[in-house]
């Protein structure tokens, strides 16, 4: 099976469950980090042609902060955290212990805080996956881009992906409940095709 479109329903279910475990741990980490309530959605699996993917998350020009990390070890691929600008600003504020009403901009310190948050979240996600599947997973140092959502996403798929036609991505949306305001963000797991098979073998649905 080298075509990601031929995955069966039970395999997709199993992959969603894997992502749910990862995202659950990441949400706990985020909640501890920010002292707030975090909710996560049921993971969705996107298998789409490259040209069809970008608009699914946010409007193409919406400013986002995105933290990309390479996943190394028994599996290869990437994790991508996408925070729309309001979420990124609040997250940076929480990381830096600033009061909610403080005006902030995404300066160097704030960007560094977001990168660190991404590091902690991806770490929690990958650790949970690694425990569950009995595989060794290592995250690379994080890299941050603050830019238009479409530019960030296509680049993450295209520059770093191994499949140039289809994107396989497990997406979990999370919400931070903050001062009656719902801030959203996205956690994307982008395993390389070969690693997808390794995951399926590890959870015995290959």
């Amino acid at each position: 099976m080298d075509d990601i479109r031929s995955l069966k329903a039970n395999q997709l279910d199993a992959l969603r469950e894997v992502a749910n475990i990862g995202a659950g741990h990441a949400a706990t980490a985020l909640s501890q980090m920010t002292g707030g309530t975090i909710m996560i959605s049921v993971p969705t699996i996107n298998i789409a042609r490259l040209e069809d993917v970008p608009p699914q998350i946010t409007a193409p020009e919406e400013p986002v902060a995105a933290v990309l990390m390479n996943m190394l070890g028994d599996l290869t691929g990437r994790t991508l955290l996408v925070f729309p600008r309001p979420t990124a600003l609040r997250l940076a504020g929480l990381m830096l212990n600033r009061r909610a009403e403080t005006e902030i901009d995404l300066g160097e310190i704030e960007q560094s805080a977001i990168k660190e948050a991404g590091n902690i979240l991806s770490g929690a996600y990958l650790n949970a996956l690694s425990d569950f599947m009995g595989l060794m997973l290592l995250p690379s140092p994080p890299s941050l881009a603050v830019d238009m959502s479409s530019a960030v996403l296509t680049t993450a798929y295209l520059q770093f992906g191994t499949d140039r036609d289809y994107v396989f991505c497990v997406e979990t949306e999370f919400f931070m409940l903050e001062l009656n305001e719902k801030l959203r963000g996205f956690f994307l797991l982008l395993p390389d095709v070969a690693s997808l098979h390794a995951i399926l073998r590890a959870i015995r649905v290959a």
Partner: protein, 160 residues
């Protein structure tokens, strides 16, 4: 009334007269804008990959520079364009640069190079370009006069 035409990733559009063809949020992709001033016909393609050899799904001619340039010219001629044609380019950024393997290929740079080659083959000169860097761009081709407006988050707007 100016017609607004939006071009998605790996797509293209052509128009004549009072129209603006745009594409939003280019990262490593490149927007190729071809224009014929005499007949006020313009075309814009949003190419994704430098070469068809990197893809199994090759039906979409707008996805690759080598096929997108002839496609634009064919479609522009159908609208009455005669040439001479000029081209303007934008995009081809390199984002998340810290994660690129050292000595690895930079997709943005390769896309720009492939577009330049495809335009060379078609004998079309490049009038202006805004490519590279580490930031995303949106572009708007004003078909009447061939202006290409490039917009980015932190650098505002400028005209090529």
């Amino acid at each position: 009334m100016i017609e607004q035409i939006r071009v998605n990733v790996a797509a293209y559009a052509v128009a004549r007269g009072d129209a603006v063809i745009s594409t939003l949020g280019l990262g490593s992709c490149v927007a190729i804008a071809v224009h014929d001033l005499a007949t006020a016909v313009g075309g814009l393609a949003h190419v994704l990959l430098p070469s068809e050899s990197m893809s199994r799904d090759r039906d979409n001619r707008a996805k690759f520079p080598g096929t997108a340039v002839p496609l634009l010219l064919e479609e522009m001629r159908k609208l009455g364009a005669t040439g001479p044609f000029t081209a303007k380019l934008a995009g081809g950024a390199s984002m998340f640069g810290a994660l690129l393997p050292s000595g690895g290929v930079n997709m943005g740079e390769r896309n720009v190079e492939a577009v330049r080659r495809a335009l060379g083959v078609a004998g079309i000169g490049i009038a202006a370009q805004d490519t590279g860097g580490d930031y995303g761009r949106s572009v708007f081709l004003h078909v009447r006069d061939g202006r290409l407006v490039v917009r980015s988050l932190n650098r505002g707007e400028h005209v090529l």
